[in-house]
C-alpha cells in the first residue's frame, strides 16, 4: 500500500465524463421550468474579482481608445485585460513581465499555426493562470480548458 494518501483528482475528470457519455441524462426530478441543465455551463462561469487603479485605467483605455481602433487582439482575454488580471493575481513585477511576454506573442505573425484551444468567438484562449509561473495553477487550468473544450465539442455534435 502506498504511503501517501492518494489525491483522487483523477476521478474528478471521470466524474465529468460520466455525464457527457450519455447525452442529457435525467439525474433528478425536473419540472418544465428547469428542464435539462448543462453541467458544462455552470462549470465555465466565473466571477471577476476586485481590482484597483489599474482596472480603472484599463476601463478608460477601453472607453476612449480600444473600442474604436478595431478588433486587433487574437487572444482571449485581450492584452489590456490580461495585464490587469496578471498584476492582480501575481503582483506588479510578475504581471508586467508576463504582459511583455504576451505582447511579443501577439507580434508573432504565425501564432495561429500551432495547436490552440479556441474560444467560442474563435480567439486563442490564453488565460492568465497559465502565465504566472505557478505549476499547480497551470496544471489545473489545462485540465479545465480541456474538459471545457470537450464539452464544447459535445455541444457542437448535438
Amino acid at each position: 500500500m502506498s504511503k501517501s494518501l492518494i489525491p483522487f483528482f483523477i476521478s474528478f475528470i471521470m466524474l465529468i465524463s460520466t455525464f457527457s457519455l450519455s447525452a442529457q441524462p435525467e439525474t433528478s426530478r425536473w419540472s418544465a421550468e428547469t428542464g435539462s441543465e448543462n453541467p458544462a455551463k455552470s462549470a465555465a462561469s466565473k466571477s471577476g474579482g476586485q481590482r484597483g487603479i489599474l482596472s480603472n485605467i484599463q476601463k478608460a483605455y477601453k472607453l476612449v481608445w480600444s473600442d474604436y481602433d478595431g478588433d486587433n487582439c487574437p487572444f482571449e482575454p485581450s492584452c489590456s485585460f490580461f495585464l490587469v488580471e496578471a498584476v492582480d493575481k501575481a503582483g506588479l513585477i510578475k504581471g508586467a513581465l508576463s504582459f511583455s511576454d504576451r505582447f511579443m506573442r501577439d507580434l508573432n505573425p504565425i501564432k495561429k499555426a500551432g495547436v490552440h484551444t479556441l474560444s467560442e468567438k474563435g480567439k486563442i484562449l490564453d488565460p492568465v493562470n497559465l502565465r504566472i509561473n505557478n505549476s499547480q495553477e497551470i496544471f489545473r487550468t489545462l485540465i479545465e480548458s480541456r474538459t471545457h473544450f470537450y464539452f464544447h465539442q459535445m455541444e457542437r455534435q448535438r
Binding site: 476521478s11 426530478r29 504566472i132
Partner: protein, 304 residues
Amino acid sequence: MNPGLTFIFTKWKGSADLALRFWMLLLISFSSYYAQISAEDYFTPENRLRFADYLFADKDYLRAFYEYKEVISSGINDTAVFNAAYSLYKIGRYSEAIGYYTGLFINRELDYQAKIEFFRNLYLLNLPERFLYYSSQSLYSSGIEPYLLKRMIVYGDFTERPSSVDSSEFFPLFEPPLADSIRALYSESRSLTYKDPWRAAIYSAILPGAGKIYTGETGDGLTSLVVTGLLTYIAIDNLGAGHDFRGYLFGALEAYFYAGNIYGSFNSAMISNASVRVSLKMKLGNFFRNNNFFLPLPEFPGYE
C-alpha cells in the same frame, strides 16, 4: 359471495324499505365489481418490480430508482435494493448509492457484488481518506480479494505521480490481459520528455528567443529575437546620433522585453511539462474508467 351481500341477505331483515334495500344491493355489488379492476392492481409490489426492471433495461435509471424505492418500502427485496443503488450509480448519485449498498452487506446473497459496488462508488466520490479507511475495515472489505482494492489505490498513485510507483510492487497486481496495457502505460510514463524551465530561461538570457525555440515555440522565439534585436538597434542608433532620451527610452523597452522573454521561456517550459502530464493523466484516467476501475461488473445480464 361478497360480504356486503351476505349481510344484506341474512342479517338485514325486517322493517327496512324494500326499494332502499334494492338500491343498496345494486350499489354494493357494483362497488365490489369496480374494486376488482381498479388501478391498484398495477401498483402492487410485484407489478412495480416488473415495471422497474423494464425501466432499468430501458436505461431510464432515475425512474427505475423511484420504482425500486417503492418496492423496497413495502418489503425488502435484495435485487430491488441492488438495482436501486445501481441506478443511482448510473446517474452519478454516488453517495446515495453507497447507503443502499451497505444495507446488503450482512448475510445476504449479493454481499460480494454490493461491496464491490460500494468501493466503486466510494472511489468516484473522490474521498481518499474514506476509501483507505473503509478498505481497512473488515465489515466493508471482507470477502473482497485484497488485490482488487490495493490496485485501485496503487493505480491512483500512479496517475498522480507516475515516477514514484515501484514497478515490482505494481505489475504483479494485474493479470495477463490488463498487465500488457499497464506495462505499456508504465513505460510511456517513464519515457516522457520534460523541458527544464531553468535551462529555457538561461538559453533565452544568452540569445533572446532561444529558450522558446527549445520548448517548441519556434514562432514566438523568432519573434522575440527580432523584437529585442530591433529595439537594441534603434537604441544604439539613437544614442550614436546623440538622441539621448530616445536612446534610453528604447534601451529601457529593450530591457523590459528581454526580461519578459526570459520569464516567458521559463513559463513556456512549465506549460509544456504540464501539458505532457495532463495528457498522460487523462489517458491513464480513461484507461481506468474503461476498465471499470479494475473491479468486476455484476455477472447477471443488464449491467454495463
